[in-house]
Symmetry: C2
Subunit: 168 residues, 2 copies
DNA sequence: GTGGGGATTCCCATGATGGGAAGGTCAAGC
DNA sequence: GCTTGACCTTCCCATCATGGGAATCCCCAC
């Protein structure tokens, strides 16, 4: 790859970047840019004669907006709503705030679930000798030995946490 | 094939439940039981002449073990290891503890990520008027206006939180 | 004109789960 | 006996956001 970079071709006015440059500039992978286009989150960009996608500064800004929203763990669906409001100068900040608040609530419940799990497991691990002997309160609990604790009521498809990213 | 043996080999010991009963008894959906079997997490149960799966009390106990582990957010992979240790009476509790501790660490980092997201978004929402006016610090931040905050380095496929469950 | 990097599309995989179709089985009621 | 409905079977599809990779084409610097 390497951005040996066009020495000067783009004087920042109507840049006209290809997908690789738009990706580097926005922090959204080319794969994801195409995906966002396919699901209608972003409009179809113009193309060169050869079929290469061409992105304007404006479109790259939108991609940056989307990336930051993803970094806050917002779902694609909500991001779509936010982008719509962002572009709508007649919007009400109340609508934006409501979306954010809903997400905060979901993050909160997700956090509580995870904390409950962590606390339960941490307590069990703490009481486990962790030596060569086979006796282990962790296994005993999983066997059904302990009282039911952690683990919320099985969350409904949960509030996507964020972007999975590289490793998989 | 059914127990070719004497007319009543199973008097109540060796219950012999079908998948629906095993599901009800263990709290694991029939769909998941079949899935666990397909990926080798549990062994293939015996079948009736008609092809119905037949589960013994022992197998149902294993399913319960798996469900509780899932409730603690453990991945199928780790659960497989735990089941193996559980059945291995020569195990070292250290191995069990290590698995639990690794999971606690993953839960912890996940929690920190979510908290960072929540805090950022909560602060932004708080500073948003939430009225009819269009000005909104949330959108301003997403536009790239604010300093980079929350959102960890894009988690690597994260430590599955728990079981999605019913609603979806 | 050639080579290498980048673009294109298309398909597949992930993790853990559910939904549903098409067809076979069992048990209870008439 | 026969019907009915609940249950089982397998198989495929969808989720959510993302990456991997193949096959093919394009662009630009040499």
């Amino acid at each position: 790859m390497l951005i040996s970079g066009p020495p000067f071709r783009w004087h920042w006015t109507e840049t006209g970047m290809n997908i690789g440059q738009a990706s580097a500039a926005s922090g959204v992978s080319a794969k994801m840019i195409r995906y966002y286009e396919s699901i209608g989150l972003i409009p179809k960009p113009s193309r060169t004669d050869a079929g290469y996608r061409v992105y304007t500064e404006t479109e790259v800004r939108t991609l940056g907006f989307i990336r930051r929203a993803r970094d806050l763990g917002l779902s694609i669906e909500r991001i779509g709503l936010l982008v719509g409001l962002w572009l709508d100068h007649g919007r009400s900040s109340a609508d934006v705030k409501r979306i954010a608040t809903e997400h905060v609530a979901e993050l909160e419940s997700r956090i509580l679930e995870l904390i409950a799990m962590r606390d339960t497991l941490q307590a069990l691990a703490k009481s486990c000798h962790g030596d060569q002997r086979p006796e282990c309160p962790i296994l005993h609990e999983l066997e059904g030995g302990g009282a039911r604790r952690a683990a919320a009521p099985r969350r409904p498809a949960g509030p996507r946490p964020a972007a999975p990213g590289p490793a998989a």
